[in-house]
């Protein structure tokens, strides 16, 4: 499979927004800083012309409160995509496209069943992102660890400081088999850890997620969703303790986006690599 390239040889990314999306600005900046050419597209426009997806290598669903998160976080946007764009989205992923969902974007991907067994019905969904254990919105910096997983552009074992800002980010599973399946498929991509890499308890684990899971990928590794916001850690002074530390050139979140864009530029991971994990 070949990667879709933008004119001038870059990677083209679409940042999808709708009513209540509110991290689109920093997501566009992050992808641009990482080298992509970025189009910010409203859901209505993409639903009218789904072929635009075919010209992109990356689809990003940014954070926010889509449709107010009324009923449940990401529920309404998820249903909108399910009924207006699901086939084009599945085709995009099957053709080697990369999908990134951050915070509300992750909640939408979960609603869409992107991390489920292919073909499973909506009612059979095995995972959910639900109210934080504290029953509060939590805005704080946490530490993520990339796990050994199917996602080709994460570096296993690497730690990344990032902020979370959500009320419904607690990852739960229907049953133990679901968690086992996610593990077996290499889908557990990112976990919350203590700043030194040790096990996380509140507030390092900000929401009470099962197995401290912060982010998942699909079995192909090209669809990644996470609750924290790497696009809010692009600059050297975004880190909450930058005034205590030696000067540095950039925030850790920038390399996160850079690797995504580089990986999308190289194309999809080899079939051998993904299949070996199954």
């Amino acid at each position: 499979m070949s990667a879709r390239r933008a004119p001038r040889g870059g990677v083209r990314a679409i940042v999808l927004r709708s009513a209540g999306t509110n991290c689109d600005g920093e997501t566009v900046l992050a992808l641009r800083a990482a080298g992509a050419e970025v189009d910010l597209v409203h859901l209505n426009a993409l639903a009218r012309d789904p072929a635009r997806l075919a010209a992109a290598a990356i689809l990003a669903l940014p954070g926010g409160f889509s449709y107010g998160d009324y009923v449940a976080a990401g529920r309404v946007f998820g249903l909108e995509i399910r009924h207006r764009l699901l086939d084009p989205l599945h085709r995009f992923v099957a053709d080697g496209g990369f999908v990134l969902g951050v915070c509300n974007g992750f909640q939408i991907l979960v609603e869409l069943g992107m991390f489920e067994v292919p073909g499973a019905s909506a009612a059979a969904r095995g995972i959910a992102l639900t109210d934080n254990e504290s029953n509060r919105f939590e805005c704080r910096w946490v530490t993520l660890r990339a796990e050994a997983c199917a996602c080709p552009w994460l570096v296993a074992g690497e730690l990344m400081p990032v902020p979370v800002a959500h009320a419904e980010g607690r990852f739960v599973v229907r049953d133990a088999e679901t968690l086992a399946r996610l593990r077996a498929n290499g889908q557990i991509a990112l976990t919350y850890v203590a700043p030194d890499g040790g096990p996380a308890a509140y507030p390092d684990l900000p929401n009470g997620s099962t197995a401290a899971i912060a982010g998942l990928c699909d079995p192909s590794g090209r669809v990644l969703g996470l609750m924290p916001h790497p696009e809010r850690n692009l600059m050297p002074w975004n880190h909450p303790q930058w005034t205590r530390r030696p000067p540095r050139a950039e925030g850790e979140g920038l390399s996160f986006y850079r690797r995504l864009v580089e990986c999308a530029a190289r194309g999809a991971p080899s079939a051998a690599r993904t299949s070996s994990r199954r």
């Binding site: 209505n44 998160d69 739960v172 002074w237």
Partner: protein, 988 residues
């Protein structure tokens, strides 16, 4: 368990039939956590109700009875419930829900008819978009909440739980162990069209009655001016005209007190001074005299606009939303922030919001329940509600809430204060607006309903025990996502040059928005074009409704279609409702009939100017000396845990202060992210390292003793907070927000005159112009014959550019061995201090900055920070040096050794004990500054001529040690103890 007979006896058998709608109730599965239920259980426990077994919280939806069961099941499964964590109960129309497994009390809470329900709207819109329609008609969605309580609860307990914790009966209706939810209800429809109000023949009493009946809040003199105007016209006014005049002339819109003539007696026996226009002669005068070229638009628009960087300007506005927040804290604070965001959206041609601020003033959180006055809510409920309101509106809008504060005083029990601010950024070329005759009036955003009638006039009245019932219509419920859609589309339309002017629909609704935009030309409006949420509104209600999330544009006729298309592309209604004219008249039609026709000159210039009387009698000086706490360690810990001082982390972390990715100095800093920042710093432009510091200052305790000192201190505090993080005082700008009691009382107006004059003096001395402001008067609560007035309260907000964000400074101690310098002079100023509050003493001398030296001090420190000489810096405010130093230590996780004897201080009056003064006085401006040894020479060079002395050093051992003026050990505490005291307060 209440026996069924008792349950039946508690209300005279109302109709108990279930609503004629499908009912879907969604609960967490029994084997899952139910955080909302646990939250409710905790709130009930706090209320002292007998413990309920388990409380389960559910969300309910009512749907059109014309749906087939399969359709309802699908809606429930795919939209309303989560397949992993939720369980669903469905009941057919007219039938009660399936009985829960065990005997339970059920409390149902639903919105009253006409109250906005954004969840129902969202569900309904989605069902229509998906094509999931019933056999006939619309989905007709309504929502409700369910709480199921087990345990031995009496009817009275359940009613108390509903009234005090679970519901707000001003906007919600409650069913206890009854299933007859309201559905499809409506309110009595009012007739449309022209209604004349016979006024010309009315006597004084009749005029007063007309004003009172119509909730017009017009004074006798104003009613007489209107009467004379219409006598001259030889006709009666219409309801619409009277409403328009009442809104436009309201204290809220017109600021009659601040801009009217005042006869001021500055002291007993002194001659009367005539102050013609307090605003123009103080606040605006400072701005005029300073004539800063970077002030682009001040006191002229919805927001103040100043130059920032690279062709971008900043727009800023702070508003109060006090009375609505008293009645419905959640909705009132939410629409407060929603309104001030719209002010910034309507500043110039529209600014993109980059930050919000919020300052709350509430009663003591430990107020005994039986001390809560009738008709008011407990301060805890108010504070939780206003925090949640700001959180849910600001977070959904994607605007970081970065700066603010909370102050506590018994005098705010009946009348809490809620200040909300927004900063926005806009291209310099978009900073000005104009309306031309012929421009089309386009209303965009939310639809108009009966919500928020008379907000402007309501806010100009005092609150009483009845306020929550008579003014329920004044409460608006916000829908931030509608406002976010407006924001997204408005900025696209702005950048494509599709309109010439914009303003928000705030107080007074269309009447104020169109009336102000058309002031210099004229306007024709057709009310039958206005999209309504529902039928049944009278013409004047459409005209003055303060339904939220609406803006008005002046669009050149040739651009109307393109403009509408921009909004339509994202499902936002944009409706032509009229045109601006050159008639000089405000003409309103409904169905072709003229319902209002007013001369703009009379509308905007006809309000009679009434001379008000103001007096100032200084309170008798009470010399308390400097009382010495029995135990300094205990006093330091008590002050760290005092409500005004203690950590507000539980609030700050509920606000998304990181969204937009621009945060440089966060509201909480330090090793554990628990140190309270002096100000926030943002870097709003992706291609520039220039930042902006956003800071606040306020201290109502000073205001009671000396309003002039309070005003100067608030300005100094806002400025020094901005300087402490790296803000440039030479380019700082200020906003003033006064909240006062009833200024018909000469002594309160006298206090206002003193405070405003002090604002002028301080602003000129510091060289910091005011660019925007607002006053909210009549903040009192009347119960029976007694009036509870708030203390004079002034919130000053400061915006200051940070020349290079890489030089921004945080307040956490950085490194053992660094030196600590005290910058600024300490005087025997304990009046209004946290120490005296702690000791239960009132009186003393209030701090007041020395305006001849303070500005140079701020500039010298700013230069040292700009030169990179400062490792950490914290301003000294409530609690003085003790609190500032302790906060720096706990934030840095390091110890400090401080010697009070080394502090620069004024000679103390005879008999004053130096230790409490040096440790706890709140003299200003002062800072505690950490400097690394290599930077010390440069630091001292830059601070030359400023009171500044080395008072101690940072230590690796986490011990907080202070030596008294005589050199003897005075305080010795572990830094962990400091942290526990600081964090030990109310946690929400």
């Amino acid at each position: 368990m209440v026996p069924p007979a008792a349950a039946a006896a508690r209300s005279p058998s109302p109709p108990r039939s279930s609503p004629a709608a499908w009912r879907v109730e969604v609960f967490r599965r029994a084997d899952r956590d139910d955080p909302a239920g646990e939250h409710a259980a905790a709130a009930l426990a706090e209320l002292g109700l007998p413990p309920a077994g388990r409380v389960r919280a559910g969300r309910g939806v009512l749907l059109s009875p014309r749906y087939a069961r399969e359709a309802v099941e699908r809606i429930a499964a795919e939209l309303l419930a989560d397949p992993v964590v939720d369980e669903v109960r469905i009941a057919a129309p007219g039938t009660p829900p399936p009985a829960p497994p065990s005997a339970l009390h059920r409390i149902l809470v639903a919105a009253r008819p006409g109250v906005m329900d954004p969840v129902a709207r969202t569900v309904e819109d989605l069902l229509l978009r998906l094509g999931w329609r019933p056999a006939a008609g619309g989905p007709d969605v309504a929502t409700f909440r369910v709480l199921e309580l087990s345990g031995a609860l009496a009817a009275a307990d359940l009613e108390a739980a509903a009234a005090r914790v679970l519901a707000n009966e001003t906007i919600e209706t409650v069913r206890i162990d009854r299933e007859d939810l309201p559905y499809g209800g409506s309110f009595p429809a009012a007739p449309r069209g022209r209604v004349e109000v016979p006024l010309r023949a009315a006597g004084a009493e009749e005029l007063a009655a007309i004003s009172r009946r119509g909730q017009l809040s017009l004074s006798p003199a104003e009613m007489q001016a209107i009467q004379a105007h219409f006598r001259a016209l030889e006709r009666e006014p219409t309801a619409c005209e009277l409403e328009t005049l009442a809104q436009t002339w309201s204290e809220h819109c017109k600021h009659k007190t601040f801009t009217g003539p005042i006869d001021y007696v500055p002291g007993p026996g002194e001659p009367v001074e005539r102050v013609d226009n307090l605003l123009r002669s103080t606040i605006m005068r400072a701005t005029r005299e300073l004539a800063r070229p970077w002030c682009v638009s001040v006191f002229a628009d919805n927001a103040g606009i100043v130059e920032f960087d690279r062709g971008w300007d900043l727009a800023v506005k702070v508003e109060t939303h006090n009375h609505p927040s008293a009645i419905d804290p959640y909705g009132g604070a939410g629409t407060g922030i929603g309104g001030v965001i719209r002010d910034v959206l309507g500043g110039g041609l529209g600014a993109r919001p980059i930050a919000n601020t919020d300052c709350f003033f509430v009663g003591p959180l430990d107020l005994p329940r039986d001390a809560v006055p009738r008709g008011t809510m407990h301060p805890r409920r108010i504070l939780r509600g206003v925090v949640a309101g700001v959180r849910d509106y600001g977070n959904r809008m994607g605007i970081p809430t970065v700066s603010g504060g909370v102050w506590f005083d018994p005098r705010y029990v009946g009348n809490p204060l809620v200040f909300a601010g927004t900063v926005g950024i806009l291209p310099h070329a978009a900073a000005r607006k104009e309306v031309r005759p012929g421009d089309v009036i386009v209303a965009v955003g939310g639809r108009t309903g009966r919500d928020g009638i008379h907000g402007a006039t309501f806010s100009s009245l005092e609150l009483t025990e009845e306020s929550e019932t008579i003014s329920s219509a004044a409460v608006q419920i916000g829908d931030p996502i509608t406002e976010k859609r407006v924001l997204d589309c408005l900025l696209q339309a702005r950048d494509r040059g599709l309109y010439r002017a914009v303003t928000d629909c705030g107080a007074g609704g269309f009447s104020s928005a169109v009336g102000e935009m058309g002031e210099r030309c004229g306007a024709d409006v057709e009310l039958d074009r206005v999209p309504l949420k529902y039928e049944g509104l009278a013409s004047h209600e459409i005209w003055v409704s303060e339904a939220q999330e609406r803006m008005v544009l002046a669009v050149p006729p040739e651009k109307v279609e393109e403009c509408r298309a921009v909004f339509a592309a994202e499902d936002v209604e944009a409706t032509v409702i009229g045109a601006f004219t050159d008639s000089g008249r405000l003409v309103v039609r409904d169905g072709g009939e003229v319902v209002a026709d007013l001369d703009m000159r009379f509308l905007h210039g006809g309000v009679p100017r009434v001379v008000r009387r103001a007096e100032w009698t200084p309170p008798p000086p009470v010399d308390l000396g400097a009382p010495r706490p029995a135990d300094f360690d205990a006093a330091v810990l008590a002050l760290l845990g005092a409500p005004d001082v203690a950590s507000k982390e539980w609030i700050i972390r509920q606000y998304d202060h990181e969204v937009q990715g621009t945060s440089v100095v966060k509201p909480l800093v330090g090793v554990h992210g628990d140190g309270p920042s002096d100000a926030a710093v943002l870097r709003p432009l992706p291609d520039s390292d220039r930042g902006v510091a956003i800071a606040c200052g306020a201290n109502p305790r000073y205001g009671s003793l000396d309003p002039a000192a309070m005003a100067a201190c608030a300005i100094d505090e806002a400025l020094r907070n901005a300087v402490a993080v790296g803000g440039d005082p030479d380019r700082a700008v200020l906003l003033d927000n006064f909240a006062w009691g009833n200024c018909d009382r000469p002594e309160l107006l006298g206090a206002l005159v003193r405070a405003a004059r002090a604002c002028y003096e301080a602003a000129v001395a510091y060289g910091a112009p005011f660019v925007s402001g607002k006053d909210s008067l009549n903040n009192e609560y009347r119960i029976g014959g007694e009036t509870l007035s708030i203390p004079p309260t002034l919130v000053v907000t400061c915006l200051a550019p940070v020349p290079d964000v890489r030089r921004a400074v945080t307040m956490d101690l950085k490194r053992a061995g660094n030196r600590l310098f005290l910058v600024g002079r300490t005087a025997a100023e304990l009046g209004g201090s946290q120490l005296l509050l702690h000791l239960g003493r009132e009186g003393g001398t209030v701090p007041r900055p020395d305006l001849t030296t303070a500005p140079a001090l701020l500039r010298a420190l700013a230069a040292a920070i700009g030169a990179g000489c400062v490792a950490s810096c914290h301003d000294l405010s409530e609690g003085g040096l003790a609190v500032a130093a302790a906060e720096m230590a706990l934030a840095g996780g390091l110890g400090a050794r401080i010697d009070l004897g080394a502090m620069p201080a004024d000679p103390l009056p005879a008999g004053f004990d130096p230790d409490p003064v040096l440790l706890f006085a709140e003299s200003c401006p002062r800072f505690l500054v950490e400097v690394a040894p290599p930077a010390e020479p440069a630091f001292l060079r830059l601070l030359a001529g400023v009171p500044c002395a080395r008072v101690g050093e940072v230590t690796a051992a986490p011990v907080f040690a202070i030596a008294g003026a005589g050199g003897a050990p005075l305080v010795r505490l572990a830094v962990d103890e400091l942290r526990r005291a600081f964090q030990g307060g109310f946690q929400g």
